[in-house]
């Protein structure tokens, strides 16, 4: 049970060149809108045709430009879920799910599968409702049930929660997590939400401008995002250009700070630090900073800092629990940027 994708597609000014591989796990494609992540899913599902390359799922070749193999979407058995769920508006919940079971030729088996999946998703009482009569959560459950009853080899989820209200999201995310666990095969999740991606996936591929910039387990990708875009997508908000000074030192030009660092590779162009990785007090890479702005969040404070008497053009954000700042609050504070928390980024 696995997926292998190595494709290229030219779309005018945009060039998609994606290579990825995953086993029985959830792989998230994390990227901004227009980065090519949805296009990748469409290529796998057979809705879009890549110019070159190869797509394999469970050792079945779905697409191979050299061998002129290009299975129809119907032959691919991929379970594709769109962000709007794409329920057929003229059919009831029951009819929608029956439509998903159409590959099963035996009528008795088909009906049994439909009944079973409706039961397990709690949709039996809604059997005769039209999609327009369902809540967002019920629509998502119907869409998932309809896909699972079609026995897909792989699940392709395109922004599954973006159509939902915030308070519903979290609950439905748990339902989807359960569905993914029961499914047990490869799941590709497309999203731009780092929290959602972190909670649901095992591996992450960061997609930017049509290519995969970083690829690894979620722990690796969050700890070492490799590129500026990767750092931004995984939620790092403090990023500065850097200048190598040699002897294990760099100058973060936007922050006007000289930092002690471990070895950095020559193609490093920027340095980043997550807002909650800044530590109060003195230590390595310590600075006396002036508070430029104090921003109150629902459950935390973000304090914007600038080294005292510096030419810092871009203050650093430091996020901490409310009670911590309530204790520390002062016009000037001492903080340090622990070398092990610094992210070294390519462009």
């Amino acid at each position: 049970m696995s997926i292998f994708v190595d494709i290229e597609k030219n779309l005018g000014s945009f060039h998609l060149k994606v290579k990825l591989e995953a086993g029985d796990e959830t792989l998230a494609l994390l990227g901004a809108s227009g980065s090519g992540k949805s296009m990748t899913l469409k290529c796998i599902a057979g809705i879009e045709k890549p110019d070159r390359g190869r797509i394999e799922v469970d050792d079945v070749v779905l697409f191979d430009s050299e061998k002129h193999i290009n299975l129809t979407p119907q032959q691919r058995h991929t379970g594709l879920m769109f962000q709007n769920y794409a329920l057929f508006p003229n059919m009831t919940v029951l009819q929608n799910i029956r439509a998903g079971a159409s590959r099963e030729p035996d009528k008795k088996k088909r009906e049994a599968a439909v009944t079973a999946v409706m039961d397990s998703f709690g949709l039996t009482p809604l059997a005769n409702h039209l999609p327009s009569q369902l809540s967002g959560g019920q629509q998502q459950r119907t869409a998932l049930a309809r896909i699972l009853v079609s026995n897909p080899r792989i699940l392709l989820l395109d922004e599954p929660f973006s159509a939902l209200d915030n308070h519903l999201r979290f609950r439905l995310e748990q339902e989807v997590r359960q569905t993914i666990a029961d499914f047990g095969k490869t799941v590709l999740l497309v999203s731009h939400d780092r929290d959602e991606v972190f909670r649901l996936s095992d591996s992450i591929a960061i997609v930017n401008d049509g290519t995969i910039e970083a690829f690894g387990t979620k722990a690796e990708v969050f700890a070492r995002p490799q590129t500026r875009k990767g750092a931004m997508l995984t939620g790092c908000k403090n990023i500065s250009k850097l200048e190598c000074l040699g002897a294990g030192q760099i100058r973060a030009t936007d922050w006007d700070m000289v930092l002690d660092v471990p070895m950095v590779s020559p193609d490093t162009r920027a340095v980043g630090i997550r807002m909650h990785d800044i530590r109060p007090g003195q230590g390595k890479n310590g600075f006396r900073c002036q508070v430029v702005e104090e921003i109150e969040n629902p459950f935390s404070y973000t304090v914007m800092l600038k080294p005292v008497n510096s030419a810092c053009s871009c203050p650093i954000g430091w996020e901490m629990e409310k009670y911590v700042w309530q204790k520390l609050r002062a016009p000037e504070v001492s903080v340090c940027l622990p070398p092990e928390s610094l992210l070294f980024l390519k462009e």
Binding site: K42, A45, G46, I47, T72, P73, Q74, R76, H77, T78, G79, L80, M81, F82, N84, A86, F88, P89, N90, A99, G100, S102, R103, L130, S132, Q133, R146, I147, S150, P152
Partner: protein
């Protein structure tokens, strides 16, 4: 009162509407998929009958279907069939005139279709035929229905091209519109007025039917 013109009008309109229902929908479906340049050219060409005077359409039709013209002569020679001056000749005229109405409305409806529905259905293994008839057509039902009714109503009222291609022979090629003109021309104002009333009644029923259909589908779509 001789009811032949009513019967003839309805049969001509019904047959041409059925033909155009399929032709218009398939043209709309396939042309929507062609490259932009081809689409633009075909669009102009296929919409032309909508803006041309019906007499020009009639003239052009006679130009090809007349007994001495290419197609007309061939049919006469091979099948011994005269394509003009029979009751069904009017079908040539009405189909050409109502085609753009069906084609335009169907294309508008298809363009509003949410393609993710088709993509999902394909991924679920549903055939393209099933998707077309069971998902795309129901989704676009209102537009297509409106186009069909408009086409039927227009076919019922067709005068210019019809009178040129099948003339006016009482009991053979007379339609309501040609009868009204003929009666008025021969100063039979009373009969002409009766046919005008018949025509008004039919139009009224057709429009009422459209409104009722729209209300019903509106309720279905609205939901709770």
């Amino acid at each position: 009162m001789d009811w032949f013109p009513l019967f003839n009008s309805i049969r001509i309109a019904a047959i041409s509407t059925v033909i155009i229902f399929f032709v218009g929908i398939f043209a709309a479906y396939y042309i929507a998929k062609t490259p932009r340049l081809v689409k633009g050219v075909l669009d102009v060409f296929l919409t032309l009958p909508l803006v041309l005077p019906p007499t020009v359409v009639g003239y052009l039709l006679l130009r090809v279907l007349g007994p001495k013209r290419i197609i007309g002569a061939w049919f006469l020679k091979v099948f011994g069939l005269k394509l003009t001056m029979t009751w069904w000749s009017a079908i040539f005229a009405t189909t050409v005139v109502i085609f753009p109405l069906m084609y335009r409305t169907a294309r508008g409806a298809f363009e509003s279709f949410d393609e993710t529905l088709a993509y999902s259905a394909q991924s679920l293994g549903l055939s393209n035929t099933y998707i077309f008839w069971r998902i795309r057509m129901p989704y676009c039902r209102q537009g297509i229905l409106a186009g069909t009714v408009l086409a039927f109503a227009r076919a019922l009222g067709e005068y210019g091209a019809t009178s040129m291609i099948c003339g006016y022979t009482p009991g053979r090629t007379a339609t309501i519109s040609t009868t009204v003109y003929q009666l008025w021309r021969t100063n039979d104002d009373g009969m002409a007025f009766r046919w005008v009333l018949v025509n008004l009644a039919i139009s009224f029923v057709v429009l009422l039917a459209v409104n009722m259909l729209e209300k019903r589908t509106g309720r279905q779509k609205g939901g709770a």
